[in-house]
Amino acid sequence: MGWLSENGLLLGLAALDGLAYAASVFMVAVGLNLVFGVMRVLNVAHGSFYAIGAYTAASIGLAIAAAGLPSWLSLPALLVAAALVGLVLGPPIERLLLRRVEGQEPVLQLLVTFALFMILEDVQKLIWGVQPVSYDTPLKLLGTVDVPFGEDVIPFTAYQLYVLPGIAILTLVGLAWFLRRTLTGRIIVAVTTDREAATAMGINAARVTMLTFTCGTALAALGGALAVPTTAMVPGIGASTIVLSFAVVATAGLGQIEGAAVSALLIGLGRSFAVYFEPELEVVVPYLIMVAVLLLRPQGLFGVAETRRI
């Protein structure tokens, strides 16, 4: 109790930080999980969509500023960038590449998506170069909020405190509602559950797959677009993002949307508490959590154990 009363305020600050971090991690991981849930493809190129979403959002934002348009447009520009990347990259990649490896060995799928990742990394460098790209107008637009800390105050950005968690919660609720309450969502769930039976019922599974992959791509791009106001985009950012996303997805259980939210929260809070109380563990905490969960539940927190088919 003594420790808690001494560090209660710090725990509060750490929780706020952890929440914002979890929100940004969730945005990327949920797309990865959605795609896996429907297509059974672990998409390594998901990290590239994150990076391209971020670069595109920065380019659109900078173009808005250069054109002298109102700065509030920078906020919807983040969503526009995500949609644009999803629509431009999602359908052709699914149609021309992933559809050809659907149902193939997981190793082949990994290699194909890894090759795509490498190609897209070079495309990024061709278009945006190698210098870090930043765009912080949305951050400046919303300003800061002073959070009381004893007799002191700690400034947080409103973007970090409200926008990131808000959009993550909206995405989670929206996706759950879409998948369970709408016809298209139920069709996606049907294809996920039993593709063959769904096809026999007259569902165009190929179209569902394309739609899902486009949504997954857009979600990754949205994660990148939301990250760009607070960070600097550099070559290689996609690789580090995908590694963390895999940790979230593995912890959650492959294909689990709500699970991704819970595991992102666990990892976000765990990392944040580590920075405050044991900084040396900051880098490894997400993976320690993943290992601990997988030791206890190999199928992940929300995964369903499957019987081996002989």
């Binding site: 710090l10 600050l13 750490a14 706020l16 930080d17 952890g18 914002a20 971090y21 940004s24 990394e121 460098k125 170069g129 190698v130 210098q131 870090p132 930043s134 912080d136 951050l139 400046k140 800061t144 800390f149 002191d152 700690i154 400034p155 947080f156 950005t157 970090q160 990250a227 607070t230 960070t231 600097a232 985009m233 550099v234 070559p235 290689g236 950012i237 580090s240 990392r271 944040s272 920075v275 405050y276 900084p279 040396e280 900051e282 880098v283």
Partner: protein, 453 residues
């Protein structure tokens, strides 16, 4: 009967049963080829058709923020050399290799540059791990190698090499000058925190800094030691922690996108108003972060190179280089560009020295390597001397950020140029041991400051 191996154009390896005549012919051809290579490698005193220069730099990954400007500077400088007729009339040609895939790949590339491309000299590398790996390889393959940008002091403190030389400073003077500058401009600080990238440079630079700090100003409280993941994009948790701790000084030797993100996030959350930042590598981020980096914080440039250096050796040359680079690549040159200039300058000067020593004859590999030892060559702001242990002696500039209407980013004022000998561990001494011997009296011998003009 004619065997397959006797037929022209068929490689001997395709022969299922090679004849004695074929084997002898192959051996003779192989011997002649090796003899020819040997004659080139050892130097027959003949000018080559061109000087091929292998250049290892980062063309992929986060460190390409340094690697690509380095390559661009090399392309510009090599074009200028060739436009002037080359080195002693011989044109130069760069062959770039990417350090991005890692040390093992780089070692293969190094061997390929020597064995397949037959480069005369290699500039290698940005990564300290690559430098530690290639210095022994340079001796093994007997090819002059210039460590053009890497920072680790251990290369020449832990080993002696005949063919490896560094054309710039190392981590010790780069970090020690930052510490001395801090002690000069903010002598009364009592607490410090560190936010460094979690990899060798981040850890080693903090070790150097802390060792020097303990010797020169013992008793300073270390409020936090934070080592976020290399390539981290979100520092909000670290910033909150530092806002709560309120250390008087925050040291960060981070670079690239990590440093840009840290500066922007810290500025947005007013951390710069609570603590003084000390950032020895921030020169490379100035243009990108613009005026998000406020005035009054302490920055360095991994050397004494800075386009607004208070007293450059040749102001016209510095201005010309800066303008040419800006026109061609649309960016201000940052420190890897200067380090590349230094490697090119060292190469030109060493060739001139070696050719003169041979009365106009073309030097072989060992003669060229020998020319680098003790070599003094011009940099864009002063000059660099390569010591007998292979380590370059390069001055160090530190300054305080200042906002001027003339530039859309922070520039340096109250600049202090530390003489290389003052901040570099002497030959034969290990930096960590030498730093412990520093005395506070050193602070009375520091150079004067120069304002922004």
């Amino acid at each position: 009967m004619t065997s397959i191996a006797d037929q022209p154009g068929v490689p001997a390896t395709t022969a299922a049963g090679i004849s004695r005549r074929g084997a002898l012919l192959g051996a003779a051809v192989g011997t002649l080829a090796l003899a020819g290579r040997s004659a080139h490698a050892q130097g027959a005193g003949q000018k080559p058709a061109e000087i091929k220069v292998g250049i290892a730099t980062y063309l992929s990954g986060p460190a390409s923020v340094f690697g690509v400007p380095g390559r661009q500077a090399a392309e510009m400088l090599f074009d200028e050399i060739n436009a002037e007729g080359g080195i002693a009339g011989v044109k130069v040609r760069p062959i770039f290799v990417d350090e991005g895939p890692g040390v093992d790949h780089f070692m293969g590339e190094y061997r390929r540059l020597v064995q397949n491309e037959d480069v005369a000299i290699i500039f290698s590398a940005i990564s300290s791990a690559d430098c530690l790996a290639c210095a022994p390889l340079a001796d093994e393959m007997k090819r002059p190698t210039l460590l053009w940008d890497c920072g680790t002091q251990r290369v020449f403190e832990d080993g002696r090499y005949q063919y490896a030389f560094r054309t710039q400073a190392n981590a010790t003077p780069e970090v020690l000058s930052a510490l001395l500058y801090l002690l000069k401009v903010k002598p009364d600080f009592r607490s410090i925190a560190v936010v460094n990238q979690d990899y060798a440079w981040g850890r080693d630079s903090w070790e150097i800094f802390r060792t020097g700090l303990n010797a020169l100003k013992p008793g300073v409280r270390v409020a936090a030691e934070l080592f976020p993941r290399f390539g981290a994009t979100d520092f909000s948790t670290e910033i909150t922690r530092l806002l709560a701790l309120r250390p008087e000084v925050i040291l960060s030797t981070s670079w690239g996108g990590d440093l840009d993100a840290l500066i922007r996030q810290a500025a947005e959350r007013k951390l710069f108003e609570r603590s003084t930042f000390l950032m020895p590598l921030a020169e490379s981020s100035l243009e990108r972060v613009g005026k998000a980096l406020p005035a009054g914080h302490l920055i360095g440039a991994r050397g004494d190179h800075w386009f607004l250096h208070p007293s450059p050796r040749d102001p016209a040359q510095l201005a010309r280089f800066t303008e040419n680079y800006r026109k061609r690549f649309n960016n201000w040159p940052i420190y890897p560009c200067h380090h590349m200039f230094q490697a090119v300058s060292a190469m030109k000067t060493a060739y001139a020295k070696a050719i003169a020593a041979k009365n106009g004859g073309w030097p072989n590999d060992s003669e060229l390597a020998a020319a680098f030892r003790g070599l003094e060559f011009p940099s864009l702001t002063s000059s660099v001397t390569i010591r007998e242990d292979g380590q370059g002696l390069e001055n160090q500039i530190m300054g305080t950020t200042h906002h001027s209407d003339r530039y859309p980013f922070a520039v340096m004022t109250d600049m202090m140029v530390f003489p290389a000998a003052q901040v570099t561990a002497p030959v034969g001494q290990k930096s960590t041991e030498w730093l412990k011997t520093l005395k506070p009296e050193l602070l009375t011998q520091l150079p004067a400051t120069a304002p922004f003009r």
